[in-house]
Symmetry: C2
Subunit: 141 residues, 2 copies
Amino acid sequence: MKLGRLNHVGIAVPSIAAALENYKALYGVVDDDITPVRDMPEQGVKVAFIDIPNSQLELIEPLGEASPIHKFLEKNPAGGQHHVCFEVPEIYAARDAMKAQGATVLGEPRIGAHGTLIIFVHPKNSNGVLIELMETPKGDH
Amino acid sequence: MKLGRLNHVGIAVPSIAAALENYKALYGVVDDDITPVRDMPEQGVKVAFIDIPNSQLELIEPLGEASPIHKFLEKNPAGGQHHVCFEVPEIYAARDAMKAQGATVLGEPRIGAHGTLIIFVHPKNSNGVLIELMETPKGDH
């Protein structure tokens, strides 16, 4: 297992719309840099990506009462860095490698916001950082 | 002002040495991916960078009693995501643009770990995310 590209930094926010206004005003983000806001009910979140020259920021807003982001936003009401996502060539191989090293993989491989399989590795295994591993989109890069 | 490359994600850790062992065991990082650990007494931190194909992770450990990282590690004893750093072409122009938008810039431009000028923008201005802006190293990219 070897980390591939840093696909995105995930940032939890109370409102994607408000966060986008801020990124436009302060950091020169324009509409062409932003993917449409998308509901992901199976994950309990809404997401939008901001394209950066070499990577992306993923803005994450809670969707529904059971959203896993509510707890994070209770602790960090303004929002904050939520996870870092790296690409890997094959998610099941990555999952097996993580487990073989004794890491705690959260849930089974499932389809993420980029349409490829993802897993999350518990923050306790990576110095408090929640790490998402994402199968590299086919045809990308 | 327009965000350039995502230069690195800054991760505060209680021990860079222990964190590196973890990244080697779990994420396939090898010695060639890691910059030597460097003391930055003027910032109150030790740092080491891990090269990722398109970016870097910056591991930050407190140096000295007055380190600005102690407070973060009190709240997050295992460590955690500390800041995100984007490149900009010219730091004084970026600083002026931030201030013109009413953002709180922390301190004056100063030399950062990559040898170019940096500033930090207060987390309250960016949904709880501490953002570092770094003048793009000359000759890079």
